[in-house]
């Protein structure tokens, strides 16, 4: 049961490719792989722990003020993540800039609390949060992999495409500038959704 709760959001109910949530940050932080990885990790932690905490509160919080309580919990967690990043990974925190703070507005988090954590026991709620965070992170990493490889010729900052291939050095290759621009992230997400859907149809 717990295994299914954890694995479903990775593929079958992926928050980005199936529910189409959290697209904005997927466009913004996927130019390079490193910020995408950090972002994925941060969101996973926040979804997991906010699910856990709200699930613990589920019988005590009055229904009418639950949104406010959720916001407080999520905002607190995001601030913790932000402070940790600033303390231990300052460069990445700089690159992510406002998008760490904007995790609060990531629809996946509130969506999972409302849809799952408020009606389930703490452990499943935690697994669900982690699973959704990882499902989101997986898409982020796939998108950023292609964007960094084709747009900058590097992966995680290491050069993959040799310098001698470039036109400036007498080669034939050139980085694809469109990959750096936001539209391409949308197109890659679209292609991933396409592949997911096609796979679903074949397995029928």
């Amino acid at each position: 049961m717990n295994k299914r709760i954890f694995l479903d959001p990775l593929f079958k109910n992926n928050p980005v490719s199936v529910l189409v949530l959290g697209i904005c940050s997927a466009l913004a932080v996927t130019v390079k792989m490193e910020p995408a990885l950090v972002m994925a990790l941060s969101v996973t932690l926040v979804t997991g722990f906010s699910g856990l905490i709200m699930s613990l509160f589920r019988n005590t919080v009055p229904n009418r003020i639950r949104i406010i309580v959720q916001l407080i919990v999520v905002a607190t967690l995001v601030i913790v993540v932000d402070q940790i990043l600033k303390a231990f990974a300052y460069d990445v925190s700089k690159q992510l800039s406002v998008f760490v703070g904007l995790i609060i507005t990531n629809c996946i988090i509130m969506g999972r609390i409302e849809a799952f954590a408020l009606g389930n026991k703490p452990l499943p709620a935690f697994m669900d949060g982690i699973g959704n965070g990882l499902g989101y992170g997986m898409i982020l990493v796939i998108v950023s992999f292609f964007r960094e490889l084709l747009g900058s010729g590097t992966l995680l900052g290491y050069r993959i495409v040799p310098q001698s291939w470039y036109m400036g050095n007498g080669g034939f290759y050139e980085n694809n500038g469109l990959m750096i621009l936001p539209p391409m992230a949308l197109i890659i997400v679209g292609l991933i959704i396409w592949i997911f859907n096609a796979r679903k149809e074949w397995s029928k």
């Binding site: 500038g177 990959m179 197109i187």
Partner: protein, 358 residues
């Protein structure tokens, strides 16, 4: 057809060649149809024929610009030598465009079990004409693949696309590899100079550019097929005579540019012959798939396309060529324009009949 049962898995491909080489004897039996000799294939071939003058001139101009740029004052070689040089430069572009594009079209039709559509015959000819001749072939292949797959096939193939595939290919290259497409550096064979539009965005005075006559006739550096206005007009005449393209779009496009010129005091006759305006206006904006279907919608679409082109040219120094961007933008709004024209028309007719109802 009945003899080749063995290859049923290649049915779409065989059908396509069969219909291309012979007139098929199958007749539609369901529904109502207009019987006309102008089927999709005929329409597409008319556009391709209309593009031939531009292509031939583009080949000659490629050679001419090369010899002018590398010339040491020893005089130009003969006509055929110039043409032959350009021919060898332009032909690979055409071949790559057709091979990659048709390859994808055939594959997709095969996978989906569709018939192969004729739409790509025109797109494949348009793409090389709107490219700088020096574009590396692999970039061209990539752009063609992008335009056909992302721009056309995922929407359902010919007739379903939102944007003009040929312009999408150019836009892809323009944003992906700006240094090869910006128009600053079109002739890398020993010479690089700004095309008139790039010069305009950098503030070169009108006197510093090629003369109006040269721009009109097309003896200037630029993309392969879009420099010569007489050749484009020749194509336009054929398109209008056969009724393939809409004269309303062409006319309103020019009018839209004219309005902006009036407001800003720019010389309209220069803007009409510079860059891709004439070519885009005649061959791109009039694409029947991506332009409005309603007659008054065509006026709105053309006016806004022409006006937007000039606005981008004049106020956005980053993008000297506004024609491509403005047509793509208006393509996006085409369904909206059609929707409003239809609903306004419905409202008017309801109002008109309301009085007679009682």
């Amino acid at each position: 057809m009945k003899g080749i049962k063995k290859f049923t898995f290649l049915r779409s491909t065989i059908d396509a060649f069969d219909a291309f080489l012979r007139v098929p004897d199958t007749v539609t039996r369901k529904g109502s149809h207009i019987r006309d000799c102008n089927d999709l294939k005929r329409v597409m071939i008319v556009v391709v024929i209309a593009l031939i003058p531009c292509l031939l001139f583009g080949m000659y101009n490629t050679g001419l610009q090369h010899y002018l740029a590398s010339g040491t004052g020893a005089g130009l070689p003969g006509f055929w030598q110039i043409f032959w040089y350009g021919f060898l430069k332009v032909l690979p572009l055409v071949i790559v465009s057709y091979v990659v594009g048709l390859g994808i079209e055939f594959t997709v039709a095969q996978i989906r079990g569709h018939e192969v559509n004729e739409g790509y015959l025109v797109t494949g000819m348009l793409i090389p004409l709107i490219m700088p001749v020096t574009v590396p072939l692999w970039m061209l292949a990539l752009a063609v693949a992008f335009a056909v797959i992302i721009g056309k096939e995922i929407f359902g193939g010919t007739g379903m696309n939102i944007w003009n595939p040929a312009l999408l290919a150019r836009a892809f290259l323009f944003f992906s590899y700006p240094s090869h497409m910006s128009g600053d550096d079109v002739w890398t064979d020993g010479f690089s100079g700004a095309t008139p539009l790039a010069g305009l965005s950098e503030g070169t005075s009108w006197e510093g550019m090629a003369s109006w006559r040269d721009m009109f006739l097309g003896f200037i550096p630029g993309s392969v097929g879009e420099t010569s206005v007489p050749c484009i007009l020749l194509g336009a005449a054929l398109l209008l005579y056969t009724g393939v393209a809409s004269w309303k779009i062409m006319a309103s496009c020019v009018a839209g540019a004219g309005i902006i010129c009036l407001l800003t005091g720019q010389p309209l006759h220069y803007h009409l012959v510079m860059g891709g305006f004439a070519f885009g206006c005649v061959f791109m904006a009039t694409d029947p798939v991506t332009s409005p279907q309603t007659e008054s919608g065509k006026w709105v679409y053309g006016l806004l396309t022409g006006a937007m082109t000039l606005i981008i040219r004049l106020y956005n120094p980053g993008y000297p060529e506004g024609m491509m961007l403005s047509i793509l933008l208006m393509n996006t709004f085409t369904p909206l324009i059609d929707h409003y024209v239809v609903s306004i028309n419905m409202k008017r007719r309801i109002k008109r009949t309301a009085g007679h109802g009682q």
